[in-house]
């Protein structure tokens, strides 16, 4: 009897120990779907923010109401936010490793897409009728070309933020300029004017030309803001990284670094807290990101009166200016827990959201929900978007730049190469450059050479 009681007690203790490790049922998000009772339960992960979750939830509810069937089973889409385990990417990695990945998710950038594709963790889409239909019905045109890997497509591009520069209109006017600089000569004129009128600027509350703390950040993705768009502009769309070689144009890299270095001591490297939402904007220009627009609006800032967006200055008038494309899309996971039926169910859902009948409305709803622009080549011409863009000139500006927006090169080693560029090139250069007077630009050649060597080593590149 004693032994039985002991055994029962031990068993109970063991079970109690691991009780917390179990699944908490159907709401755990650990299952991507199952076939049961004529229903196909498809799990979709939205980005981990309320606006995007709400958008996808409303689309899933509308789709579920259509009672669309596959193989005689009604497709039911469930939307969950991607779990916030440090990053969305880490959450997806964890889900793939543990067999709990959803059938599809949004918020995938091109670098992570390549890692997933190289890991055979996502489906190829170029031959899927649904993909072809979406590209056609959403008028995506050549915007999908930048996502291809060896001619294959793995993502349905969803939205694009064309990042450029934002300028303080009142400070510019006080310096005698009615618009942001278009060429590098104009840019130097602005710096010169600022340098000559620093007292006047400080009286206005403008304490620096640039809040430059960002330039010292080591994270690779920052290169989109302070390298990719300037480099693309200076090389007129040139590339700097291929699958096995660093093809960077040394002169353009030097020009890019000196674009920031020319600011010298007028760049403030100490962090300035929320400069663009302060009553008196304390800087002359900054990186202009579409997702900051709502904060500007909430702070009462008016486009054209307080701030205005502009592309990076070009070397000579008539050159094409480029932006950085912060763009993300939808992928469909290939994993042991995703059956062919679940995959088809997920395709049917996304295909319905962006079919000929719904695509324009879905994209309009997306803009309203997120204030980010969908990936469409016709955004500036399509009548469906005319009203919302007319009422929001900042958004219209970003829309006009979609075709000139360039993503960071999408390779699994891109981040390593970017981190090396910052650690060995940009950060040491900027730290030294700010000790110089504005326009007494520190020569970036040695820093660029050090960066190139480090980038080659980091990416094991030729």
């Amino acid at each position: 009897m004693k032994r039985i009681i002991s055994a029962v007690l031990a068993l109970v203790l063991c079970l109690a120990l691991f009780a917390g490790c179990g699944s908490s049922g159907s709401n755990s998000g650990s299952s991507s779907g199952s076939n049961s009772g004529g229903t196909l339960n498809v799990l979709f992960w939205s980005a981990p923010n309320q606006n995007q979750f709400d958008y996808w939830l409303s689309k899933a509810e509308a789709f579920n109401a259509t009672k669309t069937e596959y193989n005689g089973k009604v497709i039911q889409v469930t939307v969950e936010m991607t779990p916030e385990t440090d990053s969305s990417e880490a959450a997806i990695q964890n889900a793939i490793a543990t067999g709990t990945v959803p059938a599809a998710s949004e918020n995938i950038n091109s670098t992570f897409m390549r890692i997933l594709a190289e890991s055979s963790a996502i489906y190829e889409l170029q031959d899927e009728p649904v993909y072809q239909q979406i590209v056609k019905d959403r008028v995506m045109g050549s915007t999908v070309d930048g996502w291809a890997i060896d001619g294959k497509q793995y993502v349905i591009p969803l939205y694009i933020n064309s990042v450029s520069l934002v300028w303080n209109v009142k400070a510019l006017a006080a310096l005698g300029f009615d618009a942001p600089p278009v060429t590098m000569e104009d840019y130097y004129d602005v710096i010169r004017a600022y340098k000559d009128n620093q007292d006047k600027m400080e009286q206005m509350g403008v304490i620096a030309m640039l809040p430059g703390a960002r330039l010292l950040k080591g994270s690779g993705y920052q290169c989109g803001y302070d390298f990719q768009m300037q480099y693309s502009t200076f090389t007129q769309g040139g590339t700097w990284l291929t699958e096995d070689a660093l093809t960077v144009d040394r002169d353009a890299m030097i020009k890019t670094m000196e674009f920031w270095g020319a600011l010298g001591s007028t760049a403030q490297l100490n962090a300035i807290d929320s400069p663009w939402t302060q009553e008196n904007i304390p800087v002359l220009f900054d990186i202009g990101k579409p997702w900051d627009l709502s904060a500007y609006t909430e702070a009462g800032k008016v486009y054209g009166e307080d701030y205005v967006f502009a592309t990076t200055p070009v070397e000579k008038a008539g050159d094409q200016a480029y932006c950085y494309a912060d763009t993300k899309g939808i992928t469909f996971y290939k994993a042991s827990n995703i059956t062919e039926e679940l995959h088809q169910g997920a395709l049917a859902f996304i295909g319905w959201v962006y079919n000929a009948e719904n695509a324009a409305q879905s994209d309009l709803d997306w803009i309203k929900a997120t204030a980010m622009l969908p990936v469409r080549a016709d955004i500036s011409e399509n009548a469906a978007f005319a009203d919302i863009l007319a009422g929001n000139p900042a958004l219209a500006y970003f829309g006009s730049n979609i075709t000139n927006a360039v993503q960071l090169p999408a390779f699994s080693f891109t981040d390593d190469v970017n981190v090396a560029f910052r650690a060995e090139g940009l950060i040491p250069y900027i730290t030294e450059a700010v000790t110089h007077e504005a326009l007494d630009t520190l020569d970036a050649s040695a820093y660029a050479d050090a960066a190139i060597a480090a980038m080659k080593e980091a990416g094991k590149l030729n």
Partner: protein
């Protein structure tokens, strides 16, 4: 012969019962420690991102790469800097707070202890955000320094000041916590001992160094072990304030392991780094325990 058999049987029964009662811990140890540990060693010998069906066995290559990796070497070097600064300053801070609390009137002593303990309960994220604001260009501190004293410090650009800010944050957080242990240890010293010391003419600083401190050595050993673990595993503060920069001045093992395993998806290499980090913690704590045991034997009670 016949008398031996029941004894053996009883011994076997008792042993089985012992194992049975230990089984929850054995299962816990196997499932949550031993199996993951073996799996971690296996993963550290792989070139794998946890997602691909293809994984490449690389043997000890990940470990060899770690010894040549600038970031790993910086993390290793910084971990000692964090260890020395955090352990010494938080211990001194804790001692000062404990002495203060110990001298407080009895009726406010409890409140005093709780007030000093509050920083430990505050979220590291919240503290980091506040610190980031405090040291930003337009903060009250920097405005005062700039306008009244004509001092402009680029806090997170200078490696020394960036490191110092993080150390201050961690010490501020931990001192009150360690003070609780030290206060309890101080109050545990019996009045007889104090009285005897006084009779022998030992008072003030002499009594503190020759009576109080030696009697607190077991508690200090515990604090050193806890502080070593905390200081070597610093993550939130540099992650939110400096991202390990400027350069690699504030980076840590945990930060580099996170970047490697979860932003660059090099899980095998990240695990190799984690194992090296675990070895460093193990060795450090062994050294602390050995040194403190000797000190306890020589001076302690």
């Amino acid at each position: 012969m016949d008398r031996k058999k029941p004894k053996k049987l009883q011994y076997a029964r008792e042993t089985a019962a012992g194992f049975l009662f230990c089984s929850p811990y054995i299962v816990f140890f196997l499932v949550l420690f031993l199996i993951p540990l073996i799996w971690a060693f296996w993963l550290s010998a792989m070139n794998w991102n946890l997602m691909s069906p293809n994984r490449e066995f690389v043997g000890l290559q990940n470990f060899l790469n770690a010894f040549r990796d600038k970031k790993v070497l910086a993390a290793f070097k910084n971990s000692w800097k964090y260890f020395i600064c955090v352990v010494s300053f938080s211990l001194i801070g804790g001692l000062v707070i404990a002495l203060l609390v110990n001298r407080m009137p009895m009726r406010v002593r409890g409140i005093g202890s709780v007030l000093f303990f509050i920083p430990y309960l505050t979220s590291g994220v919240a503290v980091s955000v506040m610190t980031k604001y405090l040291f930003s260009y337009n903060s009250i501190l920097n405005t005062f320094l700039r306008e009244k004293l004509n001092i402009g410090i680029n806090w997170f650009i200078n490696p020394t000041s960036a490191f110092a800010v993080i150390i201050i944050m961690i010490v501020w957080k931990l001192s009150g916590y360690y003070a609780l242990y030290l206060t309890a240890a101080m109050q545990g010293i019996s009045a007889d001992v104090k009285e005897a010391a006084e009779l022998d003419g030992s008072t003030g600083i002499h009594r503190f160094f020759h009576i109080t401190l030696p009697m607190m050595l077991p508690t200090i050993t515990t604090i050193l072990t806890l502080a070593a673990g905390t200081s070597l595993g610093v993550y939130t503060e540099p992650f939110l304030l400096t991202e390990g920069g400027p350069g690699n001045a504030t980076t840590t093992w945990t930060l580099e392991i996170y970047y490697r395993a979860f932003t660059r998806f090099d899980s095998g290499y990240g695990t190799a780094m984690a194992i090296l980090f675990a070895i460093q913690i193990f060795v450090t704590i062994r050294i602390i325990n050995t040194v403190m045991r000797k000190l306890n034997q020589k001076y302690g009670c």
